[in-house]
């Protein structure tokens, strides 16, 4: 009896509550989404079945190349463009902010303070941060006032707000932090003597950046890219608010289908979106081991 009681309660058991949350609110919901994407539905309810109509409807006319591009492909194409442009700008800006913090700020205290300065907006409301662009970019906004008063434009510029431009601007505004954090983390791990060695061997600043720092930051860049790309892929709120509800996205399609209670159709779209997202991540993680980077 004593011996039985002495079996060491393993520390692993402490993960049970955490695991239960993920089983109940992550594994089961995603599995159900997959299953229900094959169900039938009418106006009131969803009906257990095994049909492919939800999928074939999504790709209706998509492989008829004589016609224009189908809605699904157009939407994905537009989402991919947003992904790419946002990725490009967040990477450039994020990299240089991290570079400044890691290599030009020498006191730890200042590093922490400036890093926090970049992080604090992440803890405030995204919606507020989006609508805060309205007084700047709107028809009577500050930017237009400036353009008109200096004569740089003779009419208010309409493309500043509720456009592709404002969407990308908001994405960059909201998510550059996702690049800064992992890249900064990678940079802080770079042994400073490597840089010194490169310097002593006559490499100039640009060469050090290109041949030493960027390769060593690759894991951070990949992690940041994964975050930015996935968050843009599934977005429907930023594109909705900053696009004036006029620009389509996959997330928005799912959202609208849900509001019409076309749940299996929404589920099919969700499955495709998830599969594509996972495919992109899978390709990117081929390059690094995430767990080592923490």
């Amino acid at each position: 009896m004593m011996k039985f009681l002495k079996i060491k309660p393993t520390v692993g058991l402490l993960s049970i509550p955490y695991s239960l949350i993920f089983i109940f609110f992550f594994f089961i919901p995603l599995t159900l989404t997959f299953i229900i994407s094959f169900w039938d539905y009418n106006e009131y309810s969803i009906i257990p079945d095994f049909i492919f109509e939800n999928y074939s409807y999504i790709f209706k006319d998509c492989f008829n190349f004589e016609k224009d591009m189908c809605v699904t492909f157009k939407t994905y194409l537009s989402t991919f463009i947003f992904c790419f442009v946002t990725w490009f700008f967040t990477l450039i800006i994020g990299f240089f902010v991290a570079y400044f913090l890691a290599f030009y700020v020498n006191s730890i205290t200042w590093q922490i303070v400036l890093f926090l300065l970049c992080t604090i907006p992440f803890w405030t409301s995204n919606v507020i941060r989006m609508i805060s662009w309205i007084p700047l970019l709107g028809r009577n906004g500050l930017v237009n006032d400036f353009l008109l008063s200096t004569g740089l434009a003779d009419a208010p510029q309409e493309w500043l707000l509720y456009s592709g431009f404002s969407i990308v601007l908001a994405f960059v505004h909201l998510y550059t932090l996702f690049m800064i954090v992992p890249i900064f983390n990678s940079m802080m791990r770079i042994d400073k003597s490597i840089i010194e060695a490169a310097y002593d061997n006559g490499a100039n600043g640009l060469q050090i950046l290109w041949n030493v720092i960027i390769p060593l930051c690759k894991p951070g860049i990949v992690i940041g890219s994964i975050f930015v790309i996935t968050v843009v892929m599934g977005d429907f709120i930023t594109i909705g608010i900053m696009g004036g509800q006029q620009i389509p996205s996959i997330g928005k399609i799912i959202y609208v289908e849900m509001s019409y209670l076309q749940l299996p159709a929404a589920a099919a779209n969700a499955v495709i979106l998830l599969a594509l997202t996972l495919l992109i991540i899978w390709i990117m993680t081929k390059m690094i081991d995430i767990r080592k980077e923490l």
Binding site: I21, F22, F103, L117, S125
Partner: protein, 289 residues
Amino acid sequence: MLNKKNKTYYVCVFFFCLFVLFLYGPTFTIVLLSFQGPDGGLTFPLNGVSTYWFKELWRGGSVVDIGSAFKRSIILGLIVMVLTVLLSVSAGLAFRKKFWGSDTLFFATVASLIVPSIVLSLGVALQFRLLDDLTKWLGSTFDINYINEFFQTTLGMFTSGLGAQLTWTLPFGLLIMFAVFNRFDKSYEEAARDLGATPWKTFKEVVFPLIAPSIIGIALFGFTLSYDELARSSQVMGAGNTLPLELKGLTTTVTTPVIYALGTVTTFVSFSVIGISIACYIWLKRKRG
């Protein structure tokens, strides 16, 4: 070494300042505009300075019931915060050694951060819808009076809403714990154990004080991410909306600076929470050192 005061240094400083301006500038504008005079509109110029729009917000004029949405968000945020701290700290402790399913759980954690939020929201909504159907079916099959008369839905802020938000906050908590334990000096713990401390006592007297500042960080993530969460919550809150959900609705309907006043208030709440957390963090660090 990278020379400190060369031209690149100043370019970098300038670039960083621009970035900070870009981060905070817009928020600053709406704080400014929320003090717009009563005749003012959504853009500059300021027509006088007043607290008119805050009073308007307080009265609830033209805006849905913001007060109760605000209260709901705070309560939910606090619950998410407590659960995030408890669950991610305990899971973090477990993860210090490999255990059955640890790789899967780690994969789920990372996957949860990158799964499109709308997909997760849809999944949880579907799950609770099926749960509703099941409950109703049970009620009618076994003639359970309570269900037949009173049951409406399992979907709600403290069931599906809470769960969906946890899938967003817990990964941050666990990743912070990983970062902490990767840099953790095990010798203090071993010393305690050598001196005969039980595992619980070792945790309470040695490990906990060492990780306490980081726990503040986890709490901060738990509260603020829940308080502002929108995408995952969008389909699963049931009858009562949280503040961000109401706000999103207001962006298309409200055309007065009331929305800026609300923005100023929520931003103020976020900043207070961040300030308090940072103060606690520094205090704990000092106390230890």
